[in-house]
Amino acid sequence: MKRILKTFCVALLAALPLTTMAQIDGEFVKPRSGKFLLQNATVVTITKGTLNNTSVLVENGKIAQVGTNISAGDAEVIDCTGMFIYPGMIDGGTRLGMVEVSSVAETVDYAEIGNVTPNMQALTTINPNSEAIGVTRVSGVTTVLAVPTGGLFPGTAALINLNGYTPDQMFGGFKAVVMNFPSSGRRGRFDRRSDEDVKKDAEKALKDANDIWDNAKSYLDLKNSGAELQYYPEMEALSKVHAKEMPLLIEVNAASDIQNAIKWVEGKDIKVIFTGVAEGWRVAGELAKAKIPVITGPVQELPTRQSDRYDAPYANAGKMAKAGVKVAIKTDEEENVRNLPFHAAFAAAYGMGKEEAWKAVTINPAEIFGIQDQYGSVEAGKRANLIVATGDPFETRSQIMHVFIDGYRIPLSNRHIRLYQEFLERSPGLKAN
């Protein structure tokens, strides 16, 4: 009797949540980790060629093996016959996770007030639950650099993987201080300053930058000599660049600005990456000679000058790569980072070639960020950031079938897909039933 009662109580307890939660339908699919064998695919490793009829074993968040004869053991087998495995794509410059709706100021967290705010941390403001993250990762973009914008030194950028519930879980192991190099160009069609004023403003901005830069050096020198320093978070952040703990990410676009930036960097013992570099093709040789890596983009963009060839922005990445510059590609996007493969494909079509364009969204950004031992190719030992697609993921019609981030199998769902599921065949349709 006691036993029956016990059973009854257990049954009642088990039934309780069901009855109290009766209005919740359907099962939510969460990202889940595990041991997965992606079987019998064409594996485009990026660094070690393309391997036919090859399998990839994912275990403990890593790529455990890449080979033709891997035994499944207790792994969950995913048949990938006829499909293609690529490394997850890396976008070298976005505002993903730092903004929800760009016209609603309350949701815009990438631009702080102030001209010198290198202590503003992009990682702090990453919203792991931003709708745009779910929308982005199903496209095969698994890792992005989140970059603050604004003044001269707007903040510290952070690399994030597009899975996780806290910024720290998402952090990809790379940060850099951002600098917007003083521009000698106009801000747009509506910048009506005189040529002289434009020049004056640029010179003043560069002088300010140099002063701040020198102050940060003094700060570091004093700190290293054991001096007691005032709390000065801006200088603390900038001094990390002087100490080579962090690279300086210099956003620079116009040709003359790029030349000035090359000169500015010369003789400074720091790690430097140029970003944007819209007119890099005009000074590609100088960039190559300076051995400064470049994260360029957006590719699908208008030419910077009315007189430019229509395809100048499409051809830019390829021209720099041909000149010997190490090139990565960025979308400079927020909600549409999912278009990274298309930006890269346009670069490929307009002179860069597919192979080099693939590197520009995988191994090249990994090398530029110094994380190539973990990211950017399908090789045993690296993080399991992988995509499985029906064809070349750059090609518009290709479907991404599986996405893995840090070994987590990512559900291929997001708001865009859920709305499709609900509204494709709406009921009631035209007439009320």
């Binding site: 609603v104 040529d195 000058r305």
Partner: protein, 463 residues
């Protein structure tokens, strides 16, 4: 001078003909291409013969009449010229933001044939664009349908003179921000937007009646009737009610779309196309049943609150529900690769090649009322054609040549470093424009009040 140029061109044997019309018409034989007609299937190793700007024959082994240039397109693809149903390229001014109804203004007065954007659109295979008024007003100005006859300095040559009239309407955030919050007048809400439209049409009905009664009484003997005051604004609204003008309505949310459908049905208006229509997928059956469909972005969303609940599957859902659906640009950049934007309907919704291509050809042609003239490769239609090196829906394709009325206006082999027609004498050093989103926002920052009041009349933000 222009005429002289054409005469010279004819002498030089460029195949132009000035006797049949004002604008140049060309003749050409495109040989051995894969011809994507969009409406009548696709054919390999096929020729397209164009004479005097009209498609004369589509078939195999055609031979060129004497004097007609032959282009070998072996291994290449020919499709109809791309049509962008939402553009602001070649417009000097976009918004007359001074009143909730400004139906009297006309974009054809604002066409700038010098704008390099026309050439850049041609380099993306776009031959026709719908140059629209902005979205500051509930009922904005009358739009202009353009044919990209690059090289002419006469705005009249750029305008597609045989296209029907269209007008811009706008719902939601933009008109309520400009007039309600900016100027403190109706509309401040989507209720007010409906009221502005209904009030406008009712006033137009009274206006029409006043003129009708005047016109009938003035013929009577001894009539002393005086004519009502003429209003271009109300006359235009009356023309909409009479079915002479197609409404193209900037809209995002399902509720406002549904509202305008109801208003249109109440006033017996059938010529209605929705623009942007990000939430069109929610009322796709209604759009399919009562309107001329929707012209949408392939994947834009989240740039403002009313597009936060969007889906990139919008075009596919609309198509599957039977709505006429087109993909547009609303951007001087996107207009350069609409073939790629259309291909996104294959990633997001798995549409067929013909369905995807129709979204940038015959479907926008229907929405602009020009589908009897352009939008497909059919005998008798105007010869607006594009040649691609790969299938136009492949992300790796590059447009090679673009023809309008059989005249070649873009050829990648003849593309020069500087294609401008006009260089400002006051411009000593050419400015460098950085168009990235962040820079655009920066540009807005100092001009918020300006932006609020004029809704980007002088800024680049037009969506």
């Amino acid at each position: 001078m222009k005429k002289l140029t054409y005469i010279l061109a004819a002498f030089l044997g460029l195949g132009m003909n000035i006797t049949s019309a004002q604008t140049p018409k060309g003749s050409v034989l495109i040989k051995n291409a894969t011809v994507l007609t969009v409406t009548k299937g696709s054919y390999e190793n096929t020729d397209v013969l164009v004479q005097d700007g009209i498609i004369k024959q589509v078939g195999k082994n055609l031979s060129a009449p004497s004097g007609v240039q032959t282009i070998d397109a072996t291994g290449k693809y020919v499709m109809p010229g791309i049509i962008d149903a939402h553009s602001h390229v070649a417009l000097d001014v976009v918004n007359e933001g001074s009143a909730p109804i400004t139906s009297e203004v006309r974009m054809k007065d604002m066409v700038n044939p010098y704008e390099i954007g026309i050439y850049r659109a041609l380099a993306g295979g776009v031959t026709v664009s719908h140059a629209m008024h902005g979205s500051a007003n509930v009922i904005g100005g009358q739009n202009a349908t353009l044919k990209h006859r690059w090289g002419s300095t006469d705005p009249a040559d750029i305008i597609m003179q045989d296209a029907p009239r269209t007008i811009k309407f706008a719902l939601g955030e933009n008109p309520t921000r400009v007039h309600g919050r900016g100027n403190g007048i109706q509309p401040r809400t989507r209720m007010g937007v409906e009221a502005v439209i209904r009030n406008g049409f009712n006033e137009a009905i009274q206006y029409k009646k006043a003129w009708e009664s005047y016109n009938s009484s003035k013929t009577q003997k001894g009539s002393t009737a005086t004519p009502p005051a003429y209003s271009e604004r109300l006359q235009t609204l009356a023309d909409i009610l009479d079915g002479k003008i197609i409404i193209h309505c900037h809209s995002y949310r399902a509720d406002e779309i549904y509202m305008l459908i109801n208003v249109a049905r109440d006033f017996g208006i059938k010529k209605l196309v929705f623009q942007h229509t990000n939430e069109g997928f929610k009322v796709a059956p209604e759009i399919a049943e009562y309107t001329m469909g929707a012209s949408v972005f392939a994947d834009w969303w989240a740039y403002k609150f009313e597009v936060y609940y969007s889906t990139a599957f919008n075009a596919a859902i609309l198509q599957r529900n039977g709505a006429i659906t087109s993909i547009n640009s609303d951007s001087a950049e996107l207009i350069r690769h609409l073939y790629h934007e259309a291909a996104k309907t294959q990633r997001y919704g798995g549409l067929t090649d013909d369905e995807a291509l129709a979204m940038i050809t015959i479907n926008p042609a229907k929405q602009l009322g020009i589908d009897d003239k352009v939008g497909s490769i059919e005998v008798g239609k105007q010869a607006d054609l594009v040649i691609f090196d790969h299938h136009p829906l492949s992300v790796y394709t590059v447009p090679q040549m673009t023809f309008v009325d059989g005249v070649k206006y873009f050829d990648i082999k003849e593309d020069q470093d500087d294609q401008r027609q006009f260089v400002s004498a006051t411009e000593m050093v050419e400015p460098v424009y950085l168009f990235s989103k962040v820079n655009e926002h920066k540009c807005m920052q100092d001009m918020d009040s300006f932006f609020e009041a004029f809704e980007g009349a002088f800024l680049e933000e037009k969506h």
